[in-house]
Amino acid sequence: MKDCKHIQEYLSAYLDQALDKEKVSLVEEHLRVCEVCERELDNIRKISQVLGSLEKVEPPPDFLEKLHERIEKRKSLDRFLRGLFSNPGAKVFVSLTLLSFVLLILFRNINVDYPLGVRHEKAVSRSAVEQEKITELKNDKITQITSGEKGGYDESRLPEDKEYLTKEVPYSQVASEGIKQFYEHTIKKGEEGVSRGFTDENKSFESIGGYEDKRKMSVAGAGAVLPQSDYRRESALSKENYYSDYALKIEVNNLTEALIEIKSILNRRNIETVSSPETTLDAVDLKQPVSLTVKVKITSQLLAVFIDDLKQLKTVSAFFSPLQTPKEGSFPLDIQLKRIPR
C-alpha cells in the first residue's frame, strides 16, 4: 500500500506510546486495513520484547575487591607524585629533566647560524658550481704566480693548498667546531707562508698587481671576509695587513654591472680609489668571480653619501656598512662586492 512505508516509520514510536494523538489515529486507521503493517508492528514488538528479556549477566563476585585494588594502586601513584613534587630537590630535578627534554626536542633540527659579519664563511660548503669556480680561480692564480716576474712560487709548493681549496668543510663541522676555531685554523695555515688564494678577494688582489710583497699578509687574512672585530684581531697578528680596517660589504646580482656603477659613484663623489679590479674583467656572467674588492680612502661624511647612492642602485640587493668609522679624517675602506645568485 502507498502509505505503508510512511506508516511503518511511526510503528516503533507507536509501540512505545511516544507518538502524538494525530499520528496515533493515523496509524491505527491504517493498521485496521493493512495486514502487512500489522505484521510489521508485531515483529517490532517481538524484537523489543526479546531485547528486554536478554539475560542480565552478573559481574564476577570479586568485582568490588579488584576495584579496591585498582583504587589503592591509583592512590599510591598519586601519593608518589605528590611526594615527588613536594620535595624541592626532586621538584628541581624533575623540572630540569623535563626542560632538557623540551630543549632537546626544540633544538634537534636547528643548526647554529653565523653572525652577520661572517656570512661569507657559510660558503665553505658551497654548491658544486661555485666550488668548481673557486678551483678554477685558484688555478688561474697559480698560472699568474708562476708566470709572474717575481713569482717565486711554483705549483709544487702548493699541493697542500690545492687540497685545502678543493676540500669542502661540511657546514655541520664548522658549526660544531665554532667560528673561532675554524678561523684560527685558517690563520695557522696562512702563517705557514703559503699563498693559497682561498677566495676571490685574492683574485681581485692579484688582478691589481703590485702587492706581491704583501701577499703573505693577504694569506694571513685567510681569504675570508671577516667581521669587523676579527679584522682588528687580524691586524694585531700582522702589522702589514692587506685588509683595511673598515669594510663595506655589498651583495649584488651582477658583479660587473655593480662595479661599473660603483666606480661611477666614486668618480662623481670624488672618492679616492686606491685600487680596483678592471671593470671589463670576466664580463661573461658565468666567468664572474664570486666577489671583488675595491679599496678606497674615504671620510665618514662621504661614506654616508656613498651609502645613500648605493640605495638607489638596482644591481645592489643588500649591503652591510661598517659599524663604527672614524669621525674625522679619511680612512681606508674595502668595498667588498659579493655576487648573490638571483
Binding site: 516503533s12 515483529n43 526479546v50 531485547l51 536478554l54 542480565k56 549477566v57 559481574p59 576495584l67 583504587i71
Partner: protein, 194 residues
C-alpha cells in the same frame, strides 16, 4: 526515599569521607554498568575491564557531580563515552591485527592453514538454549554505534525517550528515528528466529 535522593545521599556521604558509601554505589550499579558495556562491546573481558575503569573514573570525579541531573543519567553518559572510546581502540587494534586468510600461519612445526570458528553456535550452547540469545547479541553488535546505543537504552535498559534524549544529548525526534531504524535492522537480521 526516592532512588534519586538515595543516590545523592550516598554521594554526599562518600564526598564527606565515608568510603563505604562508594562501595554501596558500586554494588548498586555494577550490574547496570557491566551489562551496558557487555552489550556495547560484545566481549566479556573487555566489558569487565571497562566497567572497572568506569568506576575508577567515577571515584575520582564524583566531586564534580552536579545534583541537577539524576546520578543514573550521569552514569549512563560516562558509560557510553567510555564504550565509544574503547570501541575505537578495539577497531584500531583489529585493523592492525588484520591478516589475509589466504596466507598460511607460520609456526615452529611448519605452516598451517588458517581456520576460523564457525558463526553457528556450538552444540553445547544450543543445548543450553543460548543459541537465540547469541544471535541476538551478534545482531546488536552489528549495528552502528548510534543505533546500538538507542536500542540498548530503550529495549535492554527500558529507559524513557526523554531520558535517552538527555543521555545522548539529542532531541526526541532523533531518538525516535534512531530507534525505529535500529529495530527495523534487527528485525531484518533476526526474522528467522522470531
Amino acid at each position: 526515599m526516592s532512588k534519586s535522593s538515595e543516590d545523592n545521599t550516598l554521594i554526599k556521604r562518600f564526598l564527606g569521607g565515608d568510603v563505604a558509601a562508594f562501595d554501596e554505589i558500586v554494588v548498586k550499579y555494577k550490574g547496570l554498568v557491566f551489562n551496558v558495556c557487555l552489550k556495547m562491546l560484545g566481549n566479556y573481558e573487555e566489558a569487565l575491564d571497562l566497567s572497572q575503569d568506569i568506576f575508577l573514573k567515577i571515584y575520582g570525579s564524583l566531586k564534580d557531580f552536579r545534583y541537577e541531573a539524576q546520578f543514573s543519567t550521569y552514569l549512563y553518559k560516562i558509560v557510553l563515552n567510555f564504550c565509544r572510546n574503547r570501541l575505537k581502540v578495539l577497531q584500531r587494534r583489529r585493523r592492525k591485527e588484520a591478516f589475509s586468510i589466504d596466507n598460511d600461519l607460520a609456526t615452529e612445526d611448519g605452516t598451517l592453514k588458517r581456520e576460523f570458528a564457525s558463526d553457528n553456535p556450538n552444540p553445547r550452547d544450543v543445548l543450553d538454549g543460548k543459541e537465540k540469545e547469541a544471535l541476538i547479541l551478534n545482531a546488536i553488535n552489528s549495528l552502528n554505534h548510534d543505533y546500538k546505543e538507542a536500542v540498548i537504552l530503550r529495549d535492554v535498559e527500558g529507559l524513557k525517550y526523554e531520558e535517552i534524549a538527555g543521555i545522548l544529548n539529542i532531541d526526541l525526534g532523533t531518538v525516535k528515528s534512531r530507534l525505529s531504524r535500529a529495530r527495523h535492522i534487527l528485525k531484518e537480521k533476526l526474522e528467522g528466529i522470531l
